[in-house]
Symmetry: C2
Subunit: 298 residues, 2 copies
Amino acid sequence: MTLPPSDSSRPTLGIIAGGGAVPLTVATAAMESGRPVVIFAIRGEASAGVERFPHHWIRWGEIGRLFDLLVREKVGDIVISGSVTRPDFTSIRVDLGAVLSLPKILSLMVGGDDTVLRGVVRFFEDRGYSVVGAHEVAPLLVADVGQLGRVRPTASQSHDVAKGFEAARVLGTLDIGQAVIALTGRVVGVEGVEGTDELIARIADLKSRGRLKWSGREGVLVKAAKPQQDLRVDMPTIGPKTVEAVAAAGLAGIAVESGRVMIVDRAETITVADRHKVFLVSERLGGVEAQVVAEDVP
Amino acid sequence: MTLPPSDSSRPTLGIIAGGGAVPLTVATAAMESGRPVVIFAIRGEASAGVERFPHHWIRWGEIGRLFDLLVREKVGDIVISGSVTRPDFTSIRVDLGAVLSLPKILSLMVGGDDTVLRGVVRFFEDRGYSVVGAHEVAPLLVADVGQLGRVRPTASQSHDVAKGFEAARVLGTLDIGQAVIALTGRVVGVEGVEGTDELIARIADLKSRGRLKWSGREGVLVKAAKPQQDLRVDMPTIGPKTVEAVAAAGLAGIAVESGRVMIVDRAETITVADRHKVFLVSERLGGVEAQVVAEDVP
């Protein structure tokens, strides 16, 4: 793969950045592919690392200013990436653009989480921008098929992986959670709206109370995307903290759907997994095609 | 239905009784149908109410004595019923029968919960007894189809009931939990090994932390049996406490699979549901036939 020089005739990639390392990974990947980048860093959310790249700091509520900057910077595609805390809406000072968008914004906020995300995508698309996924710009954010670290699952652990994927696939079609925990041949925990961290904590708690018993390291956290999930703005994610939690719970490993689950800080995640002797594997789920576009995002 | 006089030519029904009201309900139903009954009440578990019926108190570990009593009382069929705390195995004094059965008992104890129950059934069957379900002797323990209390679900609540049953049926085929909670059109919680009480508590907790939002009463607890579940010794159960927990969580109602979910203390359960304005409905799950035998247990 060659690294073309920055090509100012290509439309600029705008990265609307919340917290964490993912926006920086996306910016780096885009620049390495020769694509001009500007980060729109949300103040109070994005890390100071954004200042290594062309950037503007924006505040919650500065929607008019954001759209002015998008035009001025000749942005064509947008990546929305990084964690956000729920903003304190009462303290937000809104600009004129936000006031004009208010009916739309309010209608987004009353929906469920998925509705909000779909609405945010449509909000930008209605204004002529195309929203692309972080993993489409930086394919290394998602796992390819196979074993990622040094630890290999045992035969019985591989059986738990298969059990978990079987359940995760079905749960996905029902639009339930993204994660399950399978242990010694059966699914013992299923993620609902509480999220993966609380699912892992629940299994650890059941073990500490003697309601679940196993010795040594057993059991696997399996995470997959729902078939209908909009991976551009809502991708299942694991990272070093997930590995730490899995290890602390006494589980043996993590299995993710390849191409459709984001690994935040891949190198560190694998290092931590190896250190804790946690296996980390990735499998393609039957019937679901992963969409990873390496360089040329339309 | 006539109540035949007690018929000493029919084999006696032996009820191995743990705690709670269900063993007493079974004993009453059997006697009302003219069938001789003897309760084998586990000390420390069964309620004092067993003393209204022919009974023997037995201790954990008195397996030899239990089989002697089963012979002496001419027991043919056995119901195993009622709650048990996990006995403190270190303090159990075992009799000769237990010692002779020890290899078998140990092999039961190392399996999972379902394996133990299947093993217990086989343990009695291998000795010539047939194990029948509490609901086969006392059909009123399970719900028939329809609305049980005075509260009727709204259209959107009925939609949640349908969503919940759809998920519960699929989860059952995967041998996962027996219960889900559906809220405003989606499944928000799924029971794993933690049980129904903790599932309800989790949803209440998510609401109190603002992670789930709804106003008034919404959402339904849906409970169904797994297709492969041995209903003779392992039946999903709801009762007055389930209704109290559902009401405290701000949920609107409970839906159970008719014929295959036990309602402990039916009258009290309905009274509590009406008092808290919680709906209580029962539906037959497609593709699964309920087996309720009213009187003549083979």
